[in-house]
């Protein structure tokens, strides 16, 4: 077993195989459709108590699963430590304001340090680390601010890095990170420990931007214990975390080649975030067309059925959809909104959504269905709607289009490319709306309801668009070709 080297190791954060979604489905497609490639999975989770019940049946070519909890419980040691290994390098990193070079030195140190498993414990509980935090508190000019908040935030931030730096280092010929962030950091550490390996990156969404958006709408961590106090026009803590995510992105961008995204707009963003243009390329998502039977839709039913598939979470902006439903129902009282998808991830938000439905008196028109069989669901709906604040290249859009369902989607991620891209003169397959704009969404829905010719043209174009650019065969062939090329190079070099 010690000589075993995986062909490809996926490094995944908060997704496959334990959380279902677009990224997880993509991972599953690749592993299932490349039986000749041996895969390992390095799975980053929040804690070691996170559920480990696979939502997907893992094929035989997935050999090993390695779990890296980012915030595993750490019991205080019998005696607290005076200092920690790599202290000088850490000091240098602070002086250099955590440049990539300083991170490289820390990574180099950690992967060769004999007791690397204990680095996290030794640092977190050391006197010198606490002293450094006190000095940083003073140097950041945080008088009047809670030291307790600062302490725990900084500790959590550092802890994430340390968890990655002290994680096991399974060998592989190709490390394929499925995002930047902690997965990207982990992948780069693995690649550094195994210099003959290739590091690839596929970004479904731009991690840094998604985190920045989440931070911007989060009340904490800039909230003091009792009062919300906005600081420094954006928040010291939010900037700290935002810069941390940016560092992780820059780090993997430096070493990864190729850097792949699902659509052109994201390539542009990757270059903006620091990726070198010659490394970036696009490989869009693909679906297995044989699973989705096309039915040309001439017009919406008398009782228009508008569907949504997705997690009921903030990033999907379900509240915007609910408000759009109110406008649509006002004009078309028989319209039915069917929202399929799990709601356990953010129960508070789900309760808010239900309350909003009740407040707007939409109980007879908007229904939360929970988890549903997607293929059966597509048979019942006329229009697919997405109001997300952030998306990559939503598989549900491709599936819906493949079934001949016109799409209304917010202009995020690759949605406009799916709907509007000029592909061999094909008609658009739906409409793209403004983000966080219920009126814009409602207008698009109403247009599709009230213009049957336009609706029909979108329905026909959807399948053709998917066949042209978004087939699973194309996806698998492209990645298989990439893997094979790099595996051959690996063999020839070693």
């Amino acid at each position: 077993m010690s000589d075993y080297i995986a062909d490809v190791t996926f490094i995944i954060e908060g997704s496959y195989p334990y959380v279902s979604g677009g990224v997880a489905s993509w991972c599953h497609q690749l592993v299932c459709n490349m039986p000749d490639i041996q895969f390992d999975l390095v799975i980053l989770q929040a804690t070691s108590k996170d559920p480990r019940v696979p939502k997907y049946e893992l094929p035989k070519n997935v050999i090993n699963l390695y779990h890296v909890p980012l915030y595993a419980k750490l019991k205080r040691p019998l005696f607290l430590y005076k200092s920690f290994p790599g202290y000088n390098l850490f000091l240098e990193a602070i002086d250099e304001k955590f440049s990539i070079e300083s991170l490289e030195r820390l990574v180099d140190f950690c992967i060769t340090y004999k007791g690397r498993k204990h680095i996290r414990k030794k640092m977190i509980f050391s006197q010198t680390f606490f002293k450094l935090m006190e000095e940083l508190f003073h140097s950041e000019n945080l008088q009047g601010k809670s030291f307790l908040t600062y302490f725990w935030l900084l500790r959590s931030l550092i802890n994430g890095y340390l968890s990655v730096l002290s994680a096991p280092l399974p060998k592989a010929k190709i490390y394929h990170a499925v995002s930047t962030g902690y997965a990207g950091l982990m992948a780069t550490v693995l690649h550094t420990a195994n210099p003959n390996s290739v590091l690839m990156l596929t970004e479904h969404g731009i991690y840094t931007r998604e985190r920045t958006m989440e931070l911007s709408i989060a009340e904490w961590p800039d909230q003091d214990r009792d009062n919300y106090i906005p600081e420094f026009g954006g928040g010291f803590y939010k900037r700290l975390w935002g810069n941390s995510f940016a560092l992780m992105s820059h780090f993997i961008y430096k070493y990864a080649n190729p850097i792949i995204s699902l659509y052109q707009k994201n390539n542009d963003l990757q270059i903006e975030e620091g990726a070198e243009p010659w490394k970036v390329s696009t490989i869009p998502n693909g679906i297995d067309l044989s699973l989705y039977s096309f039915r040309e839709r001439k017009k919406v039913a008398d009782s228009p059925q508008i569907g949504f598939i997705g997690r009921i979470v903030k990033i999907k902006d379900v509240k915007c959809l609910i408000r759009a439903a109110e406008i649509v129902v006002a004009k078309h009282p028989t319209a039915q909104f069917q929202l399929a998808g799990p709601s356990e991830e953010d129960e508070d938000y789900f309760e808010d959504c239900k309350e909003l439905v009740s407040l707007l008196n939409l109980q007879d028109n908007l229904h939360f269905l929970g988890r549903t069989d997607a293929k059966a669901f597509y048979e019942t709906i006329d229009i697919m709607v997405l109001t997300s604040l952030s998306e990559g290249q939503p598989l549900v859009m491709l599936e819906a289009a493949a079934c001949g369902i016109p799409i209304v989607a917010s202009d995020v991620g690759g949605c406009s490319e799916i709907v509007y891209e000029k592909l061999d003169g094909l008609h658009q397959c739906g409409l793209v709306t403004l983000q966080k704009d219920p009126k814009s969404t409602a207008r698009a829905l109403i247009r599709l309801i009230e213009e049957p010719e336009f609706f029909n043209a979108c329905s026909k174009a959807g399948r053709l668009r998917v066949e042209t650019k978004y087939s699973q065969k194309k996806l698998i062939d492209t990645y298989h070709g990439l893997y094979t090329k790099h595996l051959e190079l690996y063999v020839s070099e070693t």
Binding site: Y71, K73, L74, K75, R76, L78, F79, L80, I124, F125, S126, Q127, F129, F130, K131, E134, F137, H138, L142, Q143, G144, K145, S146, F147, L148, T149, F151, R155, N159, D224, R225, D226
Partner: protein, 454 residues
């Protein structure tokens, strides 16, 4: 100890010296109640029984009581240390409904241990087998009385505490006067009756305040984090008593005052006399800790909780360090002053009456040892306050070892060397405690923030 702190603060903040005196008296009763009971009762026994009881039997009675006290303290202390901590956690977490069941479980464990201990002892001293029941109940009552002192600190009705102690004493003495005659074991039964009355009155109030429920909760037994407390509780008490135990069992100076009972009468009497200085000193310490020090600690922790910045936290930490040093310094001066006065009074009395019941040099070293012991125990309490349990285990283990080794080598030296092994142990133990406490408190921010699981 929320109840006593609140009560003491109230008393001190009211005008007038009588309220302060009242606070010290109440503190003395809470911290040293059983000691005071035993001293007064034992003195009463001596006065009432010695004219009518043969000397040998009286000595056996005295041995049973002394051994009972010493071994009950040693054997119950590890459990009590665990239970105190668990109960404090429950109070902090506002889970008062579990207090009674935890306490009752501790009573059961300590009670069983006491019975087993007596069983083993009567196997060693078979002539006591016929009175095994009397001895068992007496020893068990003592153990439970020590345990009951844990909850006394949490109660608010101090008048009741004082009355229960005094009434228990009175019952013991009256029963002994009217019923014991010259029978040792009847006398012990009378003593036990008084102890049981005290326990009953205290527990009745405790159950009324917190709600009685016949349930046993042994969860605290399985808390791994309390194991250091168990070990340190045992070792800290052993460190204090091991020299006396070794003198009794191994020294050529020991006397078999009753079959299988050994004492070192000259040293024991000196220990008894010098331990009287502990009563006001322990009370003084309790008052200071529960007021000044406790306030400083609450302010420090409260500032952190409320979101103070580093400068403000450092300021409060400085005040806490000051309170710690002030407490130790004041305690040292207070106890030393009492001790010096006490030595003068005693030596004057001996000289005046010509009745030198003890060797004065031995008395002096013993009184000094009491001061050192009090300082040692006070600093152990502070280390517990800051949750430095592992450090207490190590310090008390080292102190115990030093006391054992020093006593082993010195116990058969001339009489003048008596007491110096304990002196050495207390100096070393006290120095370790002080240095550890000072080191930790200087870095209190680090230990407060970092000494938490992530």
């Amino acid at each position: 100890m929320a109840g006593i702190g609140f009560e003491l603060k109230k008393l001190f903040h009211e005008e007038g010296a009588d309220h302060s005196l009242g606070a010290i008296f109440k503190s003395m009763m809470v911290t040293s109640g059983p000691w005071i009971i035993s001293i007064v009762t034992f003195t009463a026994f001596r006065i009432i029984l010695s004219p009518i009881m043969p000397e040998k039997e009286f000595m056996l009675l005295m041995c049973i009581i002394v051994y009972g006290f010493v071994f009950s303290m040693i054997l119950s202390s590890p459990w009590i240390t665990m239970v105190i901590r668990h109960i404090s956690d429950l109070v902090y977490l506002d889970r008062n409904e579990e207090l009674i069941s935890c306490f009752l479980a501790a009573v059961l464990i300590i009670g069983i241990q006491a019975h087993v201990t007596v069983l083993l002892f009567v196997n060693y001293a078979p002539y006591l087998k016929d009175n095994h029941g009397t001895l068992s109940y007496f020893f068990t009552a003592l153990n439970i009385l020590w345990l009951t002192m844990v909850i006394v600190g949490a109660m608010k009705d101090f008048n009741r505490v004082v009355v229960s102690y005094l009434a228990g004493m009175l019952i013991s003495i009256l029963l002994m006067f009217f019923y014991a005659g010259s029978n040792i074991f009847l006398a012990i039964d009378c003593f036990t009756a008084g102890l049981c009355f005290t326990i009953f009155v205290l527990l009745e109030r405790f159950f009324k305040e917190f709600g009685f429920e016949m349930k046993l909760n042994f969860k605290w037994l399985f808390r791994i984090d309390l194991i250091p407390l168990f070990v340190s509780g045992l070792l800290a008490n052993l460190a204090v008593w091991i020299d006396k135990l070794m003198y009794w069992s191994m020294s050529n100076k020991a006397v078999e005052v009753a079959p299988k009972f050994y004492l070192f009468p000259d040293y024991d009497l000196v220990i008894f006399l010098s331990s009287l200085t502990m009563i006001p000193a322990a009370a003084f310490f309790t008052v200071f800790v529960e007021t000044t020090f406790s306030d400083a600690q609450q302010d420090y922790l409260g500032a952190i909780e409320k979101g103070a910045d580093l400068e403000q936290i450092d300021e409060h930490a400085g005040k806490l360090l000051l309170a710690y040093l002030k407490c130790l310094l004041n305690l040292f001066f207070f106890h030393s002053t009492i001790s010096v006065v006490y030595i003068f009074v005693l030596t004057f009395t001996f000289d005046f009456t010509g009745f030198g019941i003890v060797a004065v040099p031995l008395l002096k070293i013993s009184i000094l040892n009491m001061v050192l012991q009090n300082m040692y125990q006070a600093m152990i309490v502070f280390l517990y306050y800051f949750d430095y349990q592992k450090e207490v285990v190590i310090i008390s283990a080292i102190t115990f070892i030093i006391s054992t080794v020093a006593t082993y080598y010195m116990m058969n030296l001339p009489f003048e060397a008596t007491g110096y092994s304990f002196f050495i142990a207390m100096v070393v133990g006290g120095a370790m405690c002080f240095l550890t406490g000072a080191y930790k408190i200087q870095r209190i921010n680090y230990y407060t923030f970092s000494n938490n699981d992530l």
